[in-house]
Amino acid sequence: MKKQTNLIIAYVLVIVCSAAVTISCIISARTSGYMPVAVDGIFVFGCKGGLINLLFPLILVYSTLYRLRLDFDPVYVVRRKSKIDMWNRVFVYSYVICIITVFTSMVVGGIITLLYTHKWQYMGIESIMYGEFAKTGYAMPQQFHYGTMFVISLFINSAEVFVRVLIALGIYWFTESQVFTIIMIMVMRIFLDGRMAKYFALWHYKVEGGAYYTELCSGVRIMESILYMLIAVVVIELLAYIFIPRKNFYK
């Protein structure tokens, strides 16, 4: 199987998973008595926890491992500038595919919900503001822009996938075991999303369904979210720069 084929399969899987989760969310919402709209599809269904925290990391890590499967072969290794250079390639590649994946998922979520309900937005801005204030206690700004919301949401959600993918790839670098790496992604899902999650910084930048207008527009949690994401990435990179030069290649 060629590299491109692997990427196409991974991309199709991302679309199928996003569509399946979105349809499931729409059915669930309708059963609960409310009509979801395209905005819900983009900002909630397309970024659902199961996608961001489990399915996407699994697909992307497996795809990355396949693409980089020759990287640890001696003939490839000795031609790199350094071990850090090898890691940096993984870093950049992972970030790009995380952005593309989350972008696709949000768009698929929005399109499918729009096709189901034919509505872009359920309520007027005043109703949204009142509803969000009643629900969260946060006052929304008078002006907000969906484009800005999209960019911020894309940034934050892709960062969450990216952090998980980076941790998993870091594990692979030192264990060289695909099976163990995949298992660790599932363990991360439990650890980062479970009860212990509230003690973990990553939890803070999770965009929660139903409060996304406030969270994304009011700025209450945007800076906090971006800061935590940056801290997580910087910590991973610092650890990588300490441990990666010590990596041995026994293949």
């Binding site: 003939v75 490839y76 000795v78 031609r79 026994y250």
Partner: protein, 219 residues
Amino acid sequence: MEIKINQLTKQIKGVTVLEDITLTMQGGKIYGLKGPNGCGKTMLMRAISGLILPSSGSVEIDGQVLGKDISFPPSIGLLIEYPSFVNGYTGLKNLQMIASIQNKVTEEQVREAIQRVGLNPDDKRTFKKYSLGMKQKLGIACAIMEDPELIILDEPVNALDEAGISMVRDILQDYKKRSALIIIACHDKEELEFLSDEIYSISEGKITGHDVLPGDDSK
């Protein structure tokens, strides 16, 4: 090129695979490593390539310490065990992909390297359909295609017929004349003695002997 190994010791999970190895190697010579299976020949080659880091001691390449000043030797071609070529690609495409990492050689030079080992660069067969000997030749072509100053070959004549072995001899002598430093490991004692200028014997991770062979212009 000069390689200096100073009191190199490598332990893996508590087992000492290389112990207190000290030696110096100079460009323009072929160094042979001999010893039984599992004695540490390949591990020493990995250490010189920068693939593994010493538990203690150091490996210097032209005064630069591997793992501190540089990660890998700056100009190296190697064949250690079986290279992971892509089964679905032709020999040419495989080598082009590897050459693209450093981008130091042109397609023409890659083709020349393939021809040099007796393969056809326009062969449409994929790597999967290569015979063992052809795979070995492609591995050697990969090692020499960038005209490296340091060539490390583990069992270079494995699976090769008489003509193939003769071809390897010619290539090594040619690179020796170009002042490359060549390190080979080979189970065939006669072949190793024929090819090498100096031979290091290794046993249980230690250097147990060093023979400087008499010069032979007929090599």
